[in-house]
Symmetry: C2
Subunit: 702 residues, 2 copies
């Protein structure tokens, strides 16, 4: 017996043999990362599983397997890793966020580390330049641990604070007036009950029911669980028959989920959470008036398992859904802690939650099998969810909190898009709207109050930095604007955070390609036009590349270049999106002229230069007044569903109304896609303003 | 890390420090006693708690506190007990069933042991005779352990198999025809689903819904939980879109609680459980046809905490409700194991359960706070329960099993009585029925299809053996019939199991008192009439006593005697019951002549001699053709509710219809009770047949 490491007043017989600490039963089963934090850096649950798996496959070997200390600089985070674990695995275990777009395949070259000391084994990556190799650069996913190891995370690998639209006070302003009446799922009802007498000796539970009915609660379909029954007698008498009952309105019944003594107004807080593949955003909301008390965001830690949903699913199939769920929850719970700390409130006051995520993210967070999402015929396990309980999911809020999960109509059009519809209200309008959310995927909705078509166009992760040599997210050090001198081809760049450049983000790429195209550096097919040697043109391996920023002006001790294959990837992404527009319009028997408004959603949209996006053929060349940026609409819709029952009902209704068009086997889409693989498009007539611009540029340079 | 003691294929880090065995998480949390059996005799959870409590109060002392081995003969069960634990506590921990009517107060003198070796401390009990003391008899509750100890359980303390009516094949016969149509709570629906295609890519969950609707299931208010969502994808594909879905019909919604691959008819079994204060009865039922596959019964292990509900509640207040819950569940789960073993079926096939118990038993089993049941104004926490989940309760059946708990209208009239009504159907009859269940309590119902009055009359546990020196339950060795020679006062006894007598049970006591009374050994006030010395009359302490069986004919090496105080206790019990009849009739404006039938329920009823019961004034002196024994009606009603939704609804309806009359502060009852404290009654005119008999006896003896 010993004292629990987290609760010194509790005696327990359960000992973690690895760290010689005792844990009480609550701690053993608690999924709240804070509870485990005292030995967390040296004993994440992930590692215990890892070791168990190893031992199962080769017990004798594992018994001898040594544990080595891996230290990550500059933050000095350390972890004990079993011999043979990769440095990427150790980083995940130590919760050191590394960029690992390709999920440890060694294909993206982004998880760079600098080896300071210790023995590692594994192949040298061809993705590292001779300069990098000379500086002891290694890829974390390719090297295994064979002694105590110290590594340094170089500037270009460290994840920085993201630039996400609509945080802080902006959020409150942005949300203002969206919800006319607040009708939460979980409501706290203060009740003053009549004490029992011999003539009125009904059970405590019946007395509570009477009180709820008297307070105007609909008790006709009300039930409760054992835990409430067990606490009821004490709760009702502790403050002399004054209690506060928490009632969750579910779809078909109501449930009393908590009864506590006293009627001194419990504060009720809510969370709206946007679970993006790349980043997660959390709004902490006062359920009394809808004000946003704090807004936090960060990278989804699942990114260590790959940039896109497909890689996440592959990882879940390999390592178990639980691992991905835990990584996502770790991110969310970290953001929750940050939010409650900054607002100076208690996590226990959070009793309502609304989650919006794409179908894969929703499955992973809820630990639901996602593998069939990526296999024809692309079937999710669940589309629409009942009201869930936070404690069952592992959210670091009050375990009784009611959780609404945005429904999603298909495997590749999820709750984040439905959430966007709730926010934009396009399904309530008469005019026809084209809605597009280019995040890690590219989802499109076309329709109005009478009909809704939707599709996903596999845009790929290029705009979020994936598949592009120096691609990165819109965080400090990312090039977000570019102009190119038509004569010298020299680039003038503007960088997020006003620091030396570390890479280029989506809006920067669109700028760059449109500039390269208009200034004649590349041709309509995306190939470099330079035939003669040019100081800005180099070869990386066999591939021609354009030097965007010379080494001495970067923050990374290397030239930041743009490869021909980078251009190809971006053209494929923009082509897929544009082809998606065309096919959906065609299915509806419409063309671009029928469109009343174009809504651009997603963090991406905010920093987009509309003209440049039209120049590269990502967006249609129509009246620019019809375009509207709405920023992160998923979080806004989640906020609305959090606060209002009518929006929750509307979400289910909209989800049912959406007709999903599958592009994966759609010949029409393939044709449209192929026609879109040019700048701006094979059909130049569809881009009259770009034609004019090109003619003008030729005149100027000529 | 080590191998789980129960699951050698599992590696786990959790070590029980006391026994140096590893347990996996499943085992740590499993409430199934079988799982723990490998180290159960040396490490029951109870003991771990005990020690924690001790350490909390006096840590330094406890750290030094030694553990001693306590061995119970003849079964050689042993347990490690901390120094200072009582032998009764050690027996409870070792799951050695001892009779301990008074809950360890040292007041009943029933937990006798014979000390074979070792050091114990504590007061010598005045309840032990000099003969017993000479034979090293001690009371388990009075002696604490201070070295390794070996004790022998003497014949009179060992709990024997009970004599309970309606077991085995009798049960099937008795239940035959009670349920016209089987409508279980949990139903297993075999479904053959259409595989998804690109044109029909709805989620797995929606596909399942469609299948259920097609199979005739009402899906309008159907929901499910995370665990089903998590398993759904695999379950649906494992047998090529053939699945069996288990759906539980709740009051306001239905829930899919399990989906497993295949449609090869799952066998569905059910349990009807009567949780008596003294004994627990389990029927294992085939849900397909209602046949009873096995019937098992045993003493409720909670008896170690006292014979009646008040002592159980006091014990729960002292040691926690969990302890009582665990003891009750241990009994039930043991009976379940016995039943499934004898029927050769799997516990996992049990997916429906109906529980009937009095209000205290129901609270204790479900671990709901019972303390206000015994305090004015006698309010239970819960009267009517939603459908519960076996896994939440800790029943050793499939965790998804749906559990119906019989509702009870008041603190002292519980679900067992409602269950009895369901079985007897008195609430459906036009004629007026008096229903009485004399178990450890005495509950009465009076009424017909238009009205129902009910009350509890605190009969006390005398008829079950409590408060009577040689009182015992109706098990092997219990005297159940007595005749007394009018001249010699010699008793001729008939003993359960046809073995030497060990004590006397309720029916034996009634026989004995009526004989003693009619043969002039005792007077109408319950006092012995003998003034001169008589070979059958002795003194025990200051108290006169009648020798019922001489030592040499007993199984206990002592005279079995009947004390004057024993007689007083029984007269109080019978007086309370009779007074209850009178007051309920009076409240309804009726008298005994209005009664159409008298139903006698409870295990007790079966062995009751009606004439004798009237002679002592327990039952009214009315036409004997109106009396009907129904045996254990609680188990029969539970069986009916298990199988039929209409009976479950009827139970809730009947419970609501019952008007409870509280006797505890009822002057009329006190008066009627006082008048009943004679044999047969102060008002002899109400007992004409007894008057005739008395006159006749006088004539005979005179």
């Amino acid at each position: 017996m010993g004292k629990c490491v987290n609760h010194p007043d509790r005696e327990t017989a359960f000992l973690c043999m690895k760290h010689n600490v005792y844990m009480c039963e609550d701690c053993l089963h608690c999924r709240d990362p804070k509870i485990h934090c005292k030995f967390r850096t040296s004993c994440p649950i992930w590692f215990m599983e890892k070791q168990a798996a190893r031992e199962a496959s080769d017990r004798a070997e594992a018994d001898k397997a040594a544990l080595f200390k891996v230290m990550f600089l500059p933050d000095q985070k350390e972890i004990m890793a079993p011999e043979g674990a990769t440095l990427l695995e150790a980083a995940v275990a130590a919760e050191v966020p590394l960029n690992a777009s390709c999920n440890g395949k060694g294909a993206c070259g982004k998880c760079k580390l600098v080896l300071a000391s210790g023995a590692v084994e594994g192949p040298d990556s061809p993705l590292l330049s001779p300069v990098e190799k000379g500086k002891n650069y290694i890829l974390a996913c390719q090297k295994t641990v064979h002694s105590h190891v110290t590594v340094k995370i170089p500037e270009e690998t460290i994840e920085k604070k993201m630039k996400i639209a609509g945080m802080g006070q902006t959020a409150t302003d942005r949300m203002k007036g969206l919800v006319p009446e607040i009708t939460p799922m979980l409501k706290n009802m203060p009740l003053t009950l009549q004490p029992p007498t011999l003539d009125d000796a009904v059970s405590d539970f019946d007395r509570l029911f009477r009180g709820l009915a008297k307070a105007g609660c609909d008790t006709s379909r009300m039930t409760t669980g054992l835990s409430v029954m067990r606490e009821l007698a004490a709760a009702m008498r502790d403050d002399n028959w004054k209690v506060t009952a928490s009632v969750v309105k579910k779809r078909y019944s109501s449930e009393i989920v908590r009864v506590i003594p006293g009627t001194n107004g419990i504060r009720s807080l809510g969370l709206a959470i946007d679970i993006g593949t790349t980043s997660i955003v959390v709004y902490l909301v006062d359920m009394a008036d809808g004000s946003v008390l704090a807004a936090t965001s960060s990278h989804n830690r699942q990114a260590a398992c790959g940039d896109d949903v497909i890689n996440r699913i592959i990882c879940a199939e390999k390592d178990g859904v639980k691992k991905l769920s835990r990584m996502g929850l770790a991110t969310i719970n970290g953001l929750i802690n940050e939010a409650v700390d900054s607002a100076g409130v208690s996590r226990d006051a959070i009793d309502n939650v609304a989650l919006a995520g794409n179908t894969t993210m929703t499955h992973l967070i809820l630990e639901i099998e996602p593998r069939h999402i990526r296999r024809e015929p692309y079937v999710p396990s669940v589309s629409a969810f009942p009201v869930l309980r936070a404690g069952d999911i592992g959210l670091g809020v009050n375990p009784i909190a009611a959780v609404f999960v945005m429904p999603g109509p298909a495997s590749y059009v999820g709750g984040d898009i439905v959430s966007g519809l709730i926010f934009t209200g396009l399904h309530r309008r008469e005019g026809i709207t084209l809605f597009i959310d280019v995040g890690t995927n590219g989802e499109i909705v076309l329709g109005n109050r009478d009909w809704l078509l939707t599709a996903s166009c596999s845009a790929g992760p290029a705009f979020e930095g994936g598949g592009v040599r120096w691609g990165m997210r819109a965080e400090d050090g990312a090039i977000e604007k570019v102009t190119i001198d038509p004569v010298t081809w020299a680039a003038t760049v503007s960088v997020v955070g006003d620091v030396p450049a570390r890479g280029i983000c989506g809006s920067g790429m669109i700028d760059l390609i449109s500039e390269l195209f208009l200034k004649g550096v590349i041709q309509a097919n995306g190939k470099f036009s330079a035939t003669a040697p040019h100081p800005r043109m180099v070869k990386q391996g066999d591939e021609p590349a354009y030097i965007l920023v010379f080494e001495e002006e970067t923050g990374v001790d290397q030239d930041i270049v743009f490869l021909e294959s980078d251009i190809g990837n971006i053209i494929r992404s923009k082509g897929a999106v544009y082809a998606g527009f065309q096919v959906l319009l065609d299915q509806a028997g419409l063309d671009f002229s029928s469109i009343d408004q174009v809504i651009i959603a997603g963090g991406f949209g905010q920093f987009l230069d509309l003209d440049k996006a039209i120049i590269i053929g990502l967006l249609p060349d129509i009246d620019k007044a019809k375009f509207q940026y709405v920023g992160n609409s998923a979080i806004a819709g989640a906020y609305m569903a959090l606060l209002s029952e009518s929006f929750r009902k509307e979400a289910l209704d909209v989800c049912n109304r959406m007709t999903y068009v599958d592009f994966s086997t759609n010949n029409q889409f393939m044709e449209a896609f192929t026609s879109s693989l040019f700048l701006p498009h094979t059909n130049l007539l569809a881009f009259p303003s770009v034609m004019a611009l090109m003619a003008n540029m030729k005149t100027t340079s000529g």
